[in-house]
Symmetry: C2
């Protein structure tokens, strides 16, 4: 069986739809889309079906203008998933995905300060405050959400994606890196927090989110990580 | 020598800058951004330094919701450059790039009607009319520009990228697929037409543009092409 995309659950609103674009305009007026353009410039399809974590990181690292200090192809220094070889071997990520603590390690290895939050130790108000701060930062800080798709009525389960903006009525814009599956969509912040509260079998803890911004000093590329 | 991005020539305006976002808002009001969201959802980094043509096509094919009728990875049917194996061998494209006639062939092989225009047989008014029609189509039709970067004061030379929108004052938004080099940027339509008028050494003809929309009937995948 092969698949061409998936329909979104009915309570989630595709960005390109007229309702999605109306929310975009209103959120822009309210100051909740200041990071949208810097992020969407680097919107990216995860390179493997299990690379939602590294794919979200690639998007954040390029949007934050982190210089990888090593070349991708030709003369160009640029982040691609295959360059994120730290903390957890890529073949293991390909087989089993990546957890929030491993994502934090991988982010720090590549030049960003990463502050992680587990939903079980936090609340929706804290998530909202972080989403608004990142959304207002003009691309200086990026938030990646880690959540259970099942809890949202989406197919599949553990997933990461960057948040592209926020509407004052409590809708957040998920820039889903599984672009072969779902378009970018608005969903309710409370629903997102609920989907972060589900346990991740890999850690025995809840899922959550991370906030990323450039480190004052770049790490040495290829250094061993504490991870 | 390795490179981390390039500065844009001063007369070109990054979309994320305050001037770029002002143009975006004005162009949206004027109806010139109706295809922006469907396109930006599939904004893509060309997979190889010489893949500006295939990279632009991947973006157009996914934005036009063409089902490739074959799988990419896992169960997912989705376009990636490595699947565009028609008209010209990928290793040849990797070595020498691709011309406008070859792009038209490659587009038709993959399920889109492609109408090409050489600048030498056309004029800026015709380009403007096509850009406006595609920009107003709500993502139903995509325009890919083929031009000489040199003529715009950019580094490098022959290049393809999709056009993401148009402003009534004559600025067009180039969604540059060489995202490791330049951010999406506004430039003057007349300057773009001028950069299409330069000769392509591969064909001895000028460069130009192509308009793409889904075929009424999908081609048989992997069929031989008329070249």
């Amino acid at each position: 069986m092969s698949l061409y995309r998936r329909p979104l659950p009915e309570d989630q609103i595709p960005l390109s739809s007229s309702a999605g674009r109306r929310l975009f305009g209103e959120a822009m007026e309210a100051g909740g889309m200041e990071s949208f353009f810097p992020l969407i410039e680097h919107f990216h399809t995860q390179a493997e079906p299990s690379y939602c974590g590294p794919g979200s990181l690639v998007m954040a690292l390029n949007a934050l203008h982190i210089d990888p200090q090593r070349t991708w192809k030709g003369p160009w220094r640029w982040f691609h998933e295959e360059m994120l070889d730290c903390c957890k071997p890529l073949e293991k990520i390909r087989a089993e995905g990546i957890s929030l603590p491993e994502m934090i390690c991988l982010a720090r290895c590549n030049g960003v300060e990463a502050v992680g939050h587990f939903a079980e130790e936090s609340d929706a108000a804290a998530l909202s405050a972080d989403i608004w701060r990142c959304a207002r930062s003009g691309g200086a800080e990026v938030l990646i959400a880690g959540y259970a798709r099942k809890a949202l009525g989406q197919t599949g389960d553990g997933h990461f994606s960057p948040i592209g903006g926020v509407h004052p009525d409590g809708q957040v814009l998920v820039l889903d890196v599984a672009r072969f599956k779902y378009p970018p969509h608005w969903l309710r912040l409370e629903a997102l927090f609920g989907a972060m509260s589900a346990a991740d079998p890999a850690t025995g803890r809840s899922r959550g989110w991370m906030c990323l911004r450039p480190m004052a000093e770049l790490p040495v590329p290829g250094r061993s990580c504490s991870g």
